[in-house]
């Protein structure tokens, strides 16, 4: 019998504990009260019933029935009076303890004769019966009565009268047995009290304890800021779940399945969850696979939630239920987004510091592209081209958020989802505005129109003026300085190429730049330069192989790009050479055929390659495969009166040459001041 004590106190002494065991706790429960009332009534009837029995015995035994009647009646006065004298049921029970012993005394007297000794067994039987009062005190009263009885006996018998020794040892043996039985009966009575009578109280104690524990649990569930709920195998939610779930997703009705409940809030999610749950319970997929497929994130009305699942298996290892933990990660997501934005701004800032003019140019062009990309304003093909270019540029300049939005917009356009495209465009312009205002601040008033001189160049100019060189020479020099050296451009491209190669897992490639002091008009060639990035990207993405493949084919493990500009036969040439796998002419032919383009001659194939919508890639990646890039370059090149030359050798590499007439390049107008 374990005690429900709250804290281990020092054990009270043995006597104290005995006292606590013997004396019942003060409060009488309703159950005890009604029980004792019934017992007392039964006891009274029982003792009254002794009267006829005693009369019978004394008559059979010839021990003066009349005397017996008087004696029994005298004893019966006691409980009768006792029931009036005491109001408490327990007190009344004590009276019966006394009465029982007196009855036993009478029985022993009237049972004289051969069975007088056996009559004593009455005491032991009735002492055991007294345990039914569930009160050790009753038994003690009886025992004390017996003791008193024997004490009075010894007082009344004067020993000096007799010769023989009175058989005191017999009495002591009696006493011993009575004491023994008293102990036993007290123990039984107390146990009876604690466990039967007191059962109700024990149950109530336990119920209170359980209720309290439930309340504690309830407190946790009501206040925890995560949605905790167990979902049983049949999909039903437990009614015990975090309150915050209902705050997020609405009221719960008993018997709701989790799929149904979430479906009330967001039908698509509920549907999806239900499907995943089915695959969990139908047992076709292994448990971990099915669990993995349950939705891990979801967004409802602008709030983001994370879902995690913990399977709970029974002893046999079968899935019993799943604990779903829902966390509101809106703030985390927002924070992540904010951090990403920060990083972007930082990277933009870095770029501006490193290459102000380059970034400025990108920025202005990006602005133009953004404006031009409105789906409603322009032809869809053009929009596609613009967005693609913008995407590439933005990626190269580290403005990933814009690149991502462009990618999403391109996807929608590819799926002919006009509304989706328009929606993404809105998102794009939104983001662009944000960025633009920040960048504007950083760039200040800087525009492309300004010309930047290095310290040496300035000194050189000054020297010429001081030396009073002819005006034409100085003018020419000034014009020269206003043209942009391709050097800068190509270096920038080189850097971007290296970064891109890393991203595409082509390793650390070699990029060689040879600008040969070629200068080109910045503004006129800007569209060409921006679309040139596509060629660069293609070369790295399609042209160069992975280091492993290169080694397999006996090439040095790092790819090599050569970017050069030079003058040749009155033309300015910009050249890109790679030592990759070369153009896959068969693939080009097949694709051209599938698009219905002529594909017989080499020129046909070249023309096809540079046409809109052409790509031998099956799936567009972030960087290429949209079939827009090369087309964009061709358009830009032709707008400047240039042409493209392509040389490719399978397994050895590809070279693209962009030739521009020199007078366009040099802009003779500027010289005729």
């Amino acid at each position: 019998m374990t005690d429900v004590t709250t804290e281990p106190t020092a054990r009270p002494g043995i006597f104290r504990r005995m006292g606590q065991a013997i004396v019942l706790p003060k409060t009488v429960s309703a159950f005890e009260s009604s029980y004792l009332e019934r017992m007392n009534r039964i006891a009274l009837a029982f003792f009254y019933g002794h009267l006829p029995v005693f009369l019978l015995i004394s008559w059979l035994n010839e021990t003066d029935p009349l005397f017996t009647l008087m004696l029994t009646a005298a004893v019966l006065v006691i409980p009768t009076l006792g029931c009036r004298a005491f109001t408490g049921h327990r007190s009344k029970s004590l009276v019966f303890g006394f009465t029982a012993m007196c009855m036993g005394g009478i029985l022993v007297h009237i049972g004289q004769g051969p069975v007088q000794i056996e009559m004593h067994f009455y005491f032991f039987s009735v002492l055991a019966m007294l345990a039914l009062f569930a009160n050790p005190m009753v038994i003690l009263v009886a025992a004390v009565t017996v003791a008193l009885h024997h004490l009075i006996l010894w007082y009344l018998v004067p020993q000096s009268v007799f010769n023989y020794d009175a058989p005191i040892w017999v009495v002591l043996v009696h006493a011993g047995f009575v004491v023994l039985e008293t102990f036993a009966a007290c123990f039984i009575a107390r146990n009876f009290f604690d466990n039967v009578i007191g059962l109700e109280k024990k149950v109530e104690e336990r119920t209170v304890e359980i209720r309290k524990r439930n309340e504690d649990m309830r407190l946790v569930l009501d206040n925890v800021q995560q949605g905790l709920v167990t979902v049983s195998r049949d999909g039903k939610m437990a009614s015990e779940h975090s309150k915050v779930l209902e705050t997020w997703f609405g009221a719960y009705e008993a018997g709701d399945t989790f799929a149904g409940y979430m479906g009330n809030h967001d039908a698509a999610f509920g549907n999806w969850f239900g499907l995943c749950w089915d695959s969990l319970t139908d047992g076709f997929l292994p448990l971990e696979v099915a669990l993995d497929q349950l939705p891990k994130t979801a967004a409802f009305d602008g709030r983001h939630f994370e879902f995690s699942y913990q399977p709970i298996c029974d002893d046999a290892g079968e899935l019993e239920k799943i604990m779903v933990v829902v966390s509101d990660v809106t703030s985390e997501v927002a924070q992540q987004r904010a951090e990403a934005m920060q990083r972007e701004i930082l990277s933009v800032f870095e770029r501006i510091l490193k290459d102000r003019s380059g970034f400025t140019e990108f920025f202005e062009e990006a602005q133009r592209l953004v404006d031009a990309s409105e789906p409603a304003a322009s032809h869809l093909d053009d929009v596609k081209r613009f967005v693609h270019t913008l995407k590439g540029n933005a990626a190269l300049f580290g403005v990933d958020s814009v690149a991502q939005l462009c990618h999403e917009m391109e996807e929608r356009i590819a799926e002919d989802d006009e509304r989706g495209a328009a929606e993404r465009y809105e998102a794009l312009t939104g983001r662009w505005q944000e960025l633009a205002s920040t960048v504007q601040r950083m760039l200040g008033q800087d525009t492309v129109d300004s010309v930047t001189l290095s310290g040496d160049e300035y000194q050189d100019l000054l020297r010429r003026v001081v030396e009073e060189q002819p005006h034409v020479e100085i003018a020419r020099r000034l014009v020269d300085l206003s043209l942009e050296p391709t050097d800068h451009r190509l270096e920038r491209f080189a850097e971007q190429a290296r970064a891109l190669a890393e991203r595409l897992e082509k390793g650390a490639i070699d990029v060689c730049v040879q600008a040969n002091d070629v200068r080109l008009e910045r503004e006129r060639f800007a569209p060409f330069w921006s679309s040139f990035t596509h060629v660069l990207r293609n070369a790295i993405d399609h042209g160069l192989e992975t280091p492993d493949d290169r080694v397999e084919n006996g090439k040095p493990d790092s790819g090599r790009l050569e970017l050069s500009s030079y003058e040749q036969d009155g033309e300015v040439v910009v050249e890109l050479r790679d030592d990759g796998r070369g153009i896959d002419w068969d693939g080009v032919r097949a694709k051209a055929a599938s698009l219905g383009l002529p594909c017989d001659t080499q020129d046909d194939l070249l023309a096809a390659m540079f046409s809109a919508g052409f790509s031998t890639r099956e799936q567009a990646t972030d960087t290429s495969g949209r079939g827009v890039g090369l087309n964009a370059v061709r358009v830009a090149c032709e707008a400047l009166g240039g042409r493209i030359e392509t040389d490719s050798e399978a397994g050895r590499g590809t070279t693209f040459r962009f030739r521009f007439p020199s007078d366009v390049a040099k802009n003779a107008d500027a010289l005729s001041i």
């Binding site: 698509a268 999806w272 695959s279 696979v289 993995d292 099956e618």
Partner: protein, 122 residues
């Protein structure tokens, strides 16, 4: 050992499936679209697991399963697993109605695919 056919118009996807399952010793057959897949399954009774994409030219995933269902292959024990992108509940439901028992979300983790196939192969 079970023989598995993977039906997907994307070579990359087929490659990924192959890479995930071949080390475990499974025999992989490839098909580039629905019709190709249908022919190959019909030709080879040893194939007992089919992993297929939904969006394919010529004959898409749903149609393929329905066709095979008509031919009785599904009943004879061909286990069908659809690969699909997350969120397309109606596709999955149609696939299940056609007889596909399992489905997995793309992109899948190789070890998950392997575990699923191992369970089916048993």
């Amino acid at each position: 050992m079970s023989k598995i056919i993977v039906v997907d118009d994307s070579a990359t996807m087929r490659q990924q499936v192959k890479q995930a399952l071949t080390p475990a010793g499974f025999d992989i057959v490839e098909a580039v679209d629905g019709r190709d897949g249908f022919n190959k399954v019909q030709a080879d009774a040893a194939i007992d697991i089919m992993i297929l994409d939904v969006n394919m030219p010529r004959m898409n995933g749903i149609e393929l399963v329905e066709a095979l269902n008509k031919e009785g292959r599904v009943q004879k024990g061909l286990k069908v697993v659809m690969l699909t992108t997350e969120g397309h509940a109606e596709l999955i439901q149609r696939a299940k109605a056609a007889g596909a028992k399992g489905w997995m979300v793309k992109p899948f983790k190789p070890e998950m695919l392997l575990a699923a196939v191992q369970k089916m192969a048993v």
